[in-house]
Symmetry: C2
Subunit: 532 residues, 2 copies
């Protein structure tokens, strides 16, 4: 797929029609103040139900743009692929503190991300690198790391940043970054960890069967919503211990992000939770470094959570509060989203309780080179490259590739796999023997250390919310095998004429054989029809 | 699929850039005269190699538009879907006799065809009715009969029409329409016969795997390139007998159509052939009536060939000459097109002799209602309708439908199938029990009287020239079963709110359950996580 770069500057001149019965002159201009000095773009909602209610009333006055139809119709060939008009309007409706966030967020994209990123959604910003570049490095450089944001990017001065630890902890505290960095209080940890959005490869589910539109934020990801970095910070367990440990009954930690989140006409901060048992085994850290550098703004500066082996959505950016609670968070992102349904559940019968909550990521993989529909001239071997990952405390042990849609599998040589980590992907490559010509279906599957492997087809695991496309990744390749005589001859003929065989859909201006050859060959076949 | 009606008038202001080294002032205006009085748009090429050569030289001077990329890219949502710029340019390049044919042909479309036709290709005109209307009548009304033309539509006065019978016949003759209609010479025959383009359902092959662009004329047909009519005329066998029968060695009859055909820079009349053994059993007629009316211009007025059970391409329109020959015709449409390849054959190795020539049409079928991606609210039963056909002297005996992608099959009640004919399709309908919800794959297969049935998947029979998509026809349906409690409740709730459940991709503005219901249900499930 190729994309035109054609970006309308975010946040410019967003206009929103009022609903009937509302007049603009009736309104007092909404004003939701910044919460703290040194924090730009952060409104505290969770502590102020009245403010949430006021925002809800303001939002109810507008006729926001309808989510675009991008599942039953082909996706636009633009970059950004989707714009997020509705989300820009939400921010504009709530006045000056949020109005400029689409513009500011876009500036961070330009400053911090590689210029060749595929902008899956302009705002809230969601972007992934081009396929080739996803697997350029076993440790993803920061500018190439995918971004999956749920709101605007707040700008927080590191010196002004604090973290509240509250709820069912014995000694609630407010910590500064200096506190966290104080190695007399907390030993430093550093881990290589992959983060993966559960929407990775969603486009495959959309192409087969459309699902929940979810106001657009269910972005049509390709295979690039995964990346691996060395994250440095402190173990969250140590921080909780520093607060005297948990009170009886506490089973989960709730993380609060400074970004503003909209859902069905209401407004929130970004809030999710993970179970304490995950923290207890040091699989959750508070990180301020990504690959040896301070976190980029777009990735959560100054401090974010990184939860190992879990869906990326739990690794909250711009975290400002941690709340110990009894049960999983009732915040909408935790209770109403990132749910996995059986294929008979959909708009007609879905309930949040009927899906299970996606925390651990399952075993998955993807072919990143070649790409779908590529037409490849080769000599009997095609090189395939990709990634393989398993979350939930597992790691990829074996990768297998098939050139015939999943009948015969070839194992990737272990020497052609990148290093093993408990919490990270492995890159792989293989020179696959390919004799056949024409359209072939290549696919990949990974086996993890618990002997889990992937569902066979997209339809084996399609689900209404379009999460976790972990079925064998399949691409169609048009194989042109130069080691076959007829093909070699035609390629030579084309070379002499200075012509290309691709794209295969463009017809040749010359005949495919001489009349003499045709008659000879048909005669050898006994003519077109039998004689008697 | 929906289409915008947006038609640029054919034949207006076609301009063609000259190749380098050619100047417009160098040229004498090409002029290829009409061949006969009372015939407009007919140039005789086959008798005049010099004229063919001159046309070839003229065509070589131009840089014609490249065929559009419509296989590796999504099809335009316009009607006509494709325009045929290159073919309009070919006609314009050869001067006044052909220049206006795109415009004239389009006038016949407007006059003779139903206004709701889907114009698959503007010029040469190729069109099919909307899916529902394909199966509105067991005998297709003339305005709804699909059209698959290979060139412009010649206008021939019936009184000026003649047919030359030549080649390996004992007494070559020139016959008029009055001769054919003289029942003292030829008994009248009338048969109900389906004609099917071998490109029917080609779009399914294109969607899975692109193939031969073939300068565009390989139009992206849906399921509507099939129709059934009562054709009346005379048996071709009687006409050949009237010419004294065939000489020794004659095995095939070559049909010449008055339309001009372009192929790889050369120019021809439309010429194909069928074997004598097909004629001998009265399976080829010369017809001047279609459903009791004179042939429409667009369907071959005044006289066309109708070959029973064969690919439509052999039923030559505007036939002006029949030539008895020893072997199948070497004309390009017969020897270089309508070939069926094995999936490993493609642009890199295809030869004409390596494909087999499509004459008999195999058993095939299609679901015409509902349509792909439809979202259907039902009470446990969904009505499916469609057509089933088998060529080659066979007829549909049984139709089976599956609601689960081809695991469980339901037989269509024979009382729900239209009448049986030796040479025609049967329409069918079935009330299929559907319990499941969400995305389901419906498919159909037909069994003919020789126990032939259809390949399972498109990929089972994909072929480079994209002909004969006869695999089980599959559509994806989103099932919303109102006889299930949860679904009924949600539909009632939506009805009370005056809201629609479709399109399913548009999110609801309200929560899917109350917080109380959520907590209750999660508790019944033992919480999100185990307790110990």
């Amino acid at each position: 797929m190729s994309f035109q770069v054609e970006h309308k500057m975010s946040g410019d001149s967003v206009s929103i029609p009022l609903r009937e019965g509302h007049r603009r002159s009736d309104e007092k201009a909404p004003y939701f103040a910044e919460e703290r000095p040194g924090w730009k773009g952060y409104i505290e909602w969770e502590n102020y139900p009245d403010k949430q209610k006021e925002a809800q009333e303001i939002l109810a006055k507008y006729d926001f743009a309808k989510p675009p139809e991008y599942q039953l119709e082909p996706l636009p060939k633009t970059n950004p692929i989707l714009e997020g008009v509705r989300w820009k309007q939400y921010h504009a409706a709530l006045g000056p503190t949020l109005r400029d966030l689409p513009k500011i967020s876009w500036e961070y994209v330009q400053k911090e991300k590689s210029p060749d990123m595929i902008h899956v959604l302009d705002f809230p910003y969601n972007g992934e690198p081009p396929k080739d570049r996803v697997i350029e490095h076993a440790i993803t450089p920061n500018p190439l790391f995918f971004v999956r944001n749920h709101g605007g990017i707040p700008k927080i001065n590191a010196d002004d940043w604090t973290l509240n630890i509250s709820g069912l902890v014995r000694e609630p505290k407010r910590l500064t970054l200096a506190d966290l960095k104080d190695e007399s209080k907390f030993s430093r940890v550093s881990n290589i960890v992959s983060l993966q959005c559960s929407g990775t490869r969603r486009i495959e589910q959309i192409h087969e069967y459309p699902g929940d539109g979810d106001e657009l934020i269910n972005a049509p990801w390709g295979e690039g919503a995964i990346g691996t970095a060395r994250w440095s910070g402190v173990s969250l367990k140590k921080v909780i211990k520093y607060c005297g440990g948990l009170k009886d009954g506490a089973g989960h930690l709730e993380f609060f992000g400074a970004d503003t989140y909209f859902k069905k006409g209401k407004v929130y901060n970004y809030v999710v939770s993970i179970p304490w048992r995950k923290v207890k085994v040091h699989e959750a850290i508070l990180a301020w470094e990504m690959n040896g550098e301070p976190l980029p703004r777009i990735h959560g500066y100054p401090v974010r959570v990184v939860v190992f082996g879990y869906i990326g959505a739990r690794s909250v950016k711009w975290v400002y509060k941690i709340n110990a609670i009894e049960n999983p968070s009732m915040a909408p992102v935790q209770s109403k989203e990132y749910l996995y349904y059986t294929p008979q559940i959909g708009k007609q019968n879905a309930t949040y309780s009927g899906g299970f909550s996606i925390q651990d990521m399952p075993v998955s993989s993807a072919i990143m080179n070649p790409i779908d529909q590529q037409q490849i001239i080769h000599d009997g071997t095609i090189k395939l490259k990709g990634w393989a990952y398993s979350g939930g405390g597992h790691w990829p042990v074996r990768v297998e590739v098939s050139g015939d849609g999943g009948s015969i599998w070839y194992e990737v040589d272990h020497k052609k796999m990148s290093d093993k980590y408990f919490y990270a992907w492995r890159l792989w490559e293989i020179d696959l023997p390919v004799d056949a010509e024409g359209w072939l279906e290549f696919c990949v599957r990974c086996w993890d250390n618990a002997l889990n492997t992937q569902p066979t087809y997209v339809r084996s695991a399609w689900n209404w919310d379009l999460h976790v496309t972990s079925s064998c990744h399949r691409i169609k390749i048009y194989s042109i095998n130069r080691s076959r005589r007829a093909t070699a001859e035609r390629l030579k003929f084309l070379e002499e004429k200075g012509m290309s065989i691709t794209p295969i859909t463009q017809p040749f201006p010359f005949d495919l054989e001489t009349e003499e050859h045709y008659l000879e060959e048909v005669a050898i076949r006994g003519g077109r029809d039998p004689v008697e």
